[in-house]
Amino acid sequence: MSVAGICALAVCAAIIALSLREMRPEMARLLALAASLVVMGAAVPMAAEFVAALKDFSLISRPMTQFLRPMLKVTGVAYIAQFAAELCRDCGENALAGRVELAGKTAVALMSFPIIKDVFLKLMNFL
């Protein structure tokens, strides 16, 4: 689906959710969840293409492949954590959204630790 289609879809869903909001607030939130699912469903194939291109590119530059896997995993965790945190915030649960983001940051820190360790080791050898 093109970006224009995604934008039009998101605006329509927002308007429908707005009309539902005062009658049935929870249905409006569920409609917002459904709309974000559809938009993510359209965005993920684009990300898949980008990841494939990135993988082809990394065959050329050897050091790149070592860091590519953690980078992609971090992006994936960010995708999902952002998705959940924004939806919690949309439902008015700011504390819950903060906790989800904290969990996402912790997972990202854990996944990016090998890269940090590698950089420090190289730095030590260099000095």
Binding site: L20, M27, L30, L33, L37, G41, V44, V51
Partner: protein
């Protein structure tokens, strides 16, 4: 992840809203509450496997 998911959920939402108003106006509050809960459950059932599908796609794409 096709577009009619949104209109499906919107349809259920509107039907539940109208039924709720109808039932509360005619004095049956508890049935109105039951309708709301039923609508909520239906929508959640539809959405849960869509969410699972999306997360599975993200996992395969990013190698999680």
């Amino acid at each position: 992840m096709d577009v009619d998911l949104i209109f499906q959920i919107a349809g259920v939402g509107i039907i539940v809203a109208v039924m709720n108003q109808l039932l509360t106006r005619s004095g049956r509050e508890e049935q109105a509450m039951m309708t709301t809960i039923a609508g909520l459950v239906v929508v959640l059932i539809i959405l849960v496997d869509k969410i699972g599908e999306l997360f599975a796609t993200v996992k395969t794409v990013f190698g999680l």
